[in-house]
C-alpha cells in the first residue's frame, strides 16, 4: 500500500508542478490581464444589443445570456445529466415506497416553527431570483437550487413523514420535474416548430431575429426586457431543478425500513 501511495503522490505532484509551470509561464495569457479575450468582449457587447439584434439575446445579464442562449445546447444537456442522475438514483432504489408512520419526529419545536416561517420567504426569494435571471445575477439554477435546498431543509427539520402527509411525495415531485423538463424542451424548439409550420427557416434554440429567420420571441414584458426565451427557460429550469434535486434527496434519505423493503423483494441478476 505504501508504494501505491508514493506513486500516486509523485504523479499528482508532477501534474501539479506542470500546471503551476503552465500558469506561471503565461500559458493562459497573463494573470489578471487588463485586456479581455476578444470572445468575451463580443459576448459583453452583444448580450444586450438592440442595435445588432441578429447576434444578441437582449438580456441584461451576460452570463444568463450565454448559459441559455449562446450555449443553450450545453445547458440543455447539462440538465439532462441531472436528469440521468435522478433516474439513476431512482433506478438503484427502485421499488421504494414512502411509508408514513415509521416515527419521524424531526427537530425541536422551535426549529420547526422558525423553519415554517422561513418557508414562504425563501420560496419567494428563490422564485424572484429565477424570474429576474436575465436582469440581476441569478437564473433558473440559482433559483431552483434555493428552492431545492429549502425542500431538503424541510425534509431534515420536519422528517419525511410530515412531508409525505402533506403531499410532497416522490410521485408528485416527478410530475413537477417532468413538467419542467418538457417545458425546457418545448421552449427550445418552439420557434423551430412555428417555423416548420409556417414554412419559414428557423433554428433550434432560436430566440430573437436571426440571419435567415424573421421569427422572434417577445422582447419586452411590461417595462423590462424579457430576453425572449430566457424568462421561460429560467422558470422551467427552476421548477425542474428544484423538483429534481428534492426528489433525489428524498430517495436518498429514505429510512432503513423503506429501503430494506425495496431491497428485500429481491431482483434477479445475471
Amino acid at each position: 500500500m505504501r508504494l501505491r501511495e508514493v506513486v500516486v503522490a509523485v504523479s499528482v505532484a508532477l501534474m501539479v508542478l506542470l500546471l503551476a509551470y503552465v500558469v506561471s509561464a503565461g500559458g493562459l495569457g497573463p494573470l489578471a490581464p487588463r485586456e479581455l479575450r476578444e470572445l468575451a468582449r463580443s459576448y459583453l457587447a452583444n448580450a444586450y444589443n438592440p442595435w445588432n439584434v441578429t447576434q444578441s439575446s437582449l438580456s441584461l445579464e451576460a452570463v444568463t445570456a450565454i448559459v441559455w442562449d449562446y450555449r443553450g445546447i450545453d445547458t440543455f444537456f447539462e440538465t439532462s445529466v441531472l436528469f440521468a442522475s435522478i433516474v439513476g438514483v431512482s433506478l438503484i432504489f427502485r421499488g421504494y415506497r414512502e411509508r408514513p408512520g415509521i416515527g419521524g419526529r424531526g427537530l425541536s419545536e422551535i426549529v420547526k416553527t422558525s423553519t415554517r416561517v422561513l418557508l414562504p420567504l425563501i420560496l419567494v426569494a428563490g422564485v424572484s431570483i429565477a424570474l429576474h435571471g436575465h436582469l440581476t445575477p441569478g437564473g433558473g439554477f440559482q433559483g431552483g437550487s434555493f428552492i431545492a435546498v429549502l425542500l431538503v431543509l424541510a425534509t431534515v427539520v420536519f422528517s419525511l413523514d410530515f412531508l409525505v402527509e402533506r403531499g410532497l411525495a416522490s410521485g408528485r415531485l416527478l410530475a413537477l420535474r417532468s413538467a419542467g423538463l418538457l417545458g425546457v424542451l418545448a421552449t427550445s424548439v418552439a420557434l423551430l416548430a412555428v417555423g416548420l409550420a409556417l414554412g419559414i427557416d428557423a433554428y433550434i434554440f432560436q430566440n430573437m431575429v436571426r440571419e435567415g429567420s424573421e421569427l422572434s420571441m417577445p422582447q419586452w414584458l411590461l417595462d423590462r426586457p424579457t430576453g425572449g426565451t430566457l424568462l421561460f427557460f429560467n422558470v422551467f429550469e427552476a421548477l425542474a431543478v428544484a423538483a429534481g434535486l428534492a426528489l433525489a434527496f428524498l430517495v436518498l434519505s429514505l429510512r432503513e425500513e423503506e429501503v430494506g423493503e425495496a431491497m428485500a423483494a429481491g431482483e434477479w441478476h445475471e
Binding site: M15, V16, A45, E61, I66
Partner: protein, 126 residues
C-alpha cells in the same frame, strides 16, 4: 511579480493548484469511500475556481464589475464602456454548467455508496 496585485493573484491561483494536488491525493489514497467522495467534490470545485481565475481581469478604473448591465443602455457607447469594465462571462457560464454536472454525479455516487455499504457493511475500498 513587482506589482502587488499580480503577486496576490498568483497566490490565489497557485493555492488552487495546490488544492488540486491535495484533493487528488485524497481521492486516490484514502480508503474510505466517503472520504474519496469529499475529496472528489473539493477537486472539481478547485478546477472550477481555476476557470473563474482565468476569467478575471483588471481595469483602469477602480475595480472591474460583474457581467451584468445594471440598467437598460440608451446608446451603443454604454455597451462599449460595459465591455471595457466587466469580467469575462464565458468561464462563469461554463463553470455554472460544470457545477451542476458535478452535483448530478455526486448525487448518484452517494446512492451507490449507500448501496455498497448495504452489501459489504463497510465503506472501505482500495
Amino acid at each position: 511579480m513587482s506589482d502587488p496585485t499580480t503577486f496576490l493573484f498568483a497566490v490565489v491561483v497557485l493555492s488552487l493548484v495546490a488544492n488540486t494536488g491535495i484533493s487528488l491525493y485524497g481521492v486516490f489514497t484514502r480508503p474510505s469511500l466517503v472520504k474519496k467522495f469529499i475529496s472528489l467534490t473539493i477537486f472539481s470545485d478547485t478546477l472550477n475556481s481555476f476557470a473563474i481565475a482565468i476569467g478575471f481581469r483588471r481595469v483602469v478604473g477602480p475595480y472591474p464589475s460583474a457581467a451584468v448591465l445594471s440598467s437598460v443602455p440608451e446608446d451603443p457607447d454604454e455597451l462599449l464602456a460595459f465591455a471595457g469594465s466587466a469580467v469575462d462571462p464565458l468561464p462563469q457560464a461554463l463553470v455554472l454548467t460544470a457545477i451542476v454536472i458535478g452535483l448530478a454525479v455526486y448525487m448518484f455516487l452517494a446512492g451507490l455508496i449507500m448501496l455498497y455499504h448495504r452489501h459489504y457493511r463497510t465503506t472501505r475500498m482500495v
